[in-house]
Amino acid sequence: MHSIPRLPLAQWTDQLINYLQANWGTSTQAFSNQMESFIKGLQQVLIAIPPELFIIVMAFLAWWLAGRKMAIFSLLGLFFIYNVQLWEVTMETLSMVIASVLLCAVVGIPLGIFSAKNRTAHQLISPVLDFMQTLPAFVYLLPAIPFFGLGVVPGVLTTIIFAMPPVIRLTDLGLRQVPEELIELGKSFGSTFFQMLFKIELPLARATILAGINQCIMLSLSMVVIAAMIGAKGLGGVVWRAIQTLKFGMGFEAGVAIVVIAIILDRITQNLGKNNKKGEI
């Protein structure tokens, strides 16, 4: 055992982080500020909406996309959140989820397309995704602080790392599942690369991609809660504070609020892909 020297992976990682921080710290801080104003803006918009209006709109949306039972559930659930005075923190959480899902989609869908179209890209991206999904969140949660400071930005960024893989994977999968004959159809009529993509492949992969988005939303929500550890606030912040001060009741209330939001988001977005008036094949 002694003949093989210990691999200094830990030192290397520390050195890399120090190097990156020293050389890129300012630009990451600038990026961080940009992002912070975006998320904060989103937060303010959500908080500015009167809760009563928000609850009613969500209930109708749930009715349209997930049926009457879901509408009643979302009405009662959201009213509960309002009632226990967790409305503002819920909106904070929601704005972080929205920001993270938007970024995941904007980055993840093109990466998924790239991975489906290019063999080498697929072989490179796949193991990276495995890494992103299985590496314990705490391992990259804390190193994010020196780059992006405390608060919502590192929270959202680590959330993105955690929640983006299903978007990439399912976009890739959806495109690969387009029947060969329909690909031949597109080519035989002389479609260009982008015509193939937008007229045939993406529409046919739509349901699968939306399933990826749905998973991304759920993962974002769970990660945003954990990210409260580095100051991301929101419902996770309440839970974190409750644990530290041993106020278990308060923690339970916030926990229930998270569950309510999770169920509503899941059921609504789950049916986005299925709600195809045109009917699947």
Partner: protein, 436 residues
């Protein structure tokens, strides 16, 4: 034109056309090559497709004459199409036929380069598809050719009208214009009123009509049809075949039609290429394939086909053995009949036009009465057929009519006679040689 000269022409042309169709094609081609002007619509020269990642060695072995199996064992490369050559004329329906795995679909896909041929030339209007730059290839696919697929390949998220308009949309045509053309194509296949439905709402037959309408909408010169009717019920399949023939008569497209169904090939093809183990084993008209199979394989293949749908009257008719002229007396006619053992005799004028027929008992009546002109007893209620008439269409007549069927051309010239014996022999698959 003097009658004699006319007759002379026919005498020379007829045997060549009917017996040596292949010869005529060959001289035709030679003629073309000499002139160097008119090229066939599609010209395939020595097309080979080898699947695999290291085709060089396989290609060399193939050229040295190794069998497909040997090539696969030695190099692990699979031969898809082996040195296929043929040409298709404008307006021709050329059928590529073979069992599954014979390479017919691969061959078809090489023509629009959905599959890139390993070697050989694919000339469309003289331009080699295999050497085209990507942009040029896209333009060719958009404008000159369209494909019809076995499983229809309709886009489930688009309405029928938007499916049909797909090719036009790819060309960048404006919405109103492409809808107008798509509607015309929809009408052509008899699906007017379905434009706002989705493919999922349509039966298989209707879906393939949409597939055909989509291919016709861009008004391409060439239609590539990959087993378009194989996934349909037999009855619907026949309807669709008839409809395709109707459409083809109207539009005169150059069609490459792939099928594994010999009956379908014989019905639709002007010429048929039969494929086996990646090679073309015979090219010829339906009758040539049936009557002079180039190999045992082809012969076994055509053994069980319904010949009445493929054979025409000209293939099984016999020469009228005795023909009377109106000026001949009844005694002459009667002697003819006795000599040849006939009860009926066809009557033609001097230029060979059919006038009618006389029957033995009528003629002997005339002889008894001492009348010397045949005119009075010539009947003209005989069944007739043209040389192109399918046997299936005249079998009924043959079964119930006592008089043989007269085969006449457009000028009513008597070309031959269908008697039961020769027709049955033809249906049973006897070679033409035995009738001569």
């Amino acid at each position: 034109m003097p009658i004699g000269l006319n007759g002379h022409h026919i005498f020379v042309a007829m045997p060549v056309m009917s017996l040596h169709h292949g010869l005529i094609m060959a001289t035709h081609d030679l003629h073309r090559m000499k002139e160097g002007m008119i090229l066939a619509k599609i010209e395939i020269r020595n097309l080979t497709k080898i699947y695999g990642n290291n085709v060089e060695k396989a290609l060399q072995m193939l050229k040295d004459g190794s069998s497909n199996q040997r090539i696969r064992e030695k190099t692990r490369q699979v031969v898809g199409v082996r040195e296929a050559s043929f040409s298709v004329d404008e307006g021709e329906c050329f059928v590529i036929m073979g069992l599954s795995g014979s390479g017919k679909s691969t061959l078809l896909r090489c023509i629009n380069r959905l599959i890139k041929a390993t070697e050989g030339e694919i000339l469309i209007d003289g331009e080699d598809v295999n050497k085209m730059a990507p942009r040029r290839l896209e333009a060719l696919r958009q404008e000159k050719m369209a494909m019809v697929f076995q499983r229809f390949a309709l886009l489930p998220h688009r309405t029928i009208l938007d499916n049909i308009a797909y090719g036009l949309e790819v060309q960048g045509m404006r919405r109103s214009e492409r809808y107008e053309k798509a509607l015309q194509a929809l009408e052509l296949v008899g699906l007017k009123g379905w434009e706002d439905a989705y493919p999922g709402n349509l039966s298989g037959g209707m879906q393939q009509r949409v597939g055909i309408a989509r291919a016709l909408a861009t008004d391409p010169d060439i239609l590539l049809m990959d087993e378009p009717f194989s996934a349909l019920d037999p009855l619907i399949r026949q309807d669709m075949q008839d409809e395709l023939l109707g459409i083809q008569q109207k539009l005169q497209k150059t069609i490459l039609f792939v099928t594994h169904d010999l009956d379908e090939a014989l019905k639709l093809g002007d010429r048929i290429a039969l494929m086996k183990d990646a090679s073309i084993v015979q090219i010829g008209s339906p009758e040539e394939i049936l009557l002079s199979p180039a190999s045992d394989y082809v012969a076994r293949f055509v053994e069980n086909v319904n010949r009445s749908r493929a054979l025409t009257a000209s293939a099984v008719m016999v020469k009228p053995r005795a023909v009377a002229h109106p000026k001949d007396g009844p005694l002459t006619a009667l002697t003819f009949m006795e000599k040849h053992g006939l009860s009926t005799l066809f009557v033609t004028d001097r230029s060979g036009r059919l006038q009618g027929y006389v029957q033995a008992e009528d003629a002997s009546d005339l002889v008894d009465k001492g009348i010397r002109e045949l005119d009075g007893i010539i009947r003209d209620d005989m069944p007739t057929a043209t040389p192109d008439t399918m046997l299936a269409d005249i079998l009924d007549t043959l079964a119930y009519c006592k008089v043989p069927v007269a085969v006449i051309d457009e000028q009513r010239k008597l070309k031959g006679v269908l008697v039961r014996g020769s027709v049955i022999a033809g249906l049973a698959g006897e070679r033409r040689g035995s009738h001569a």
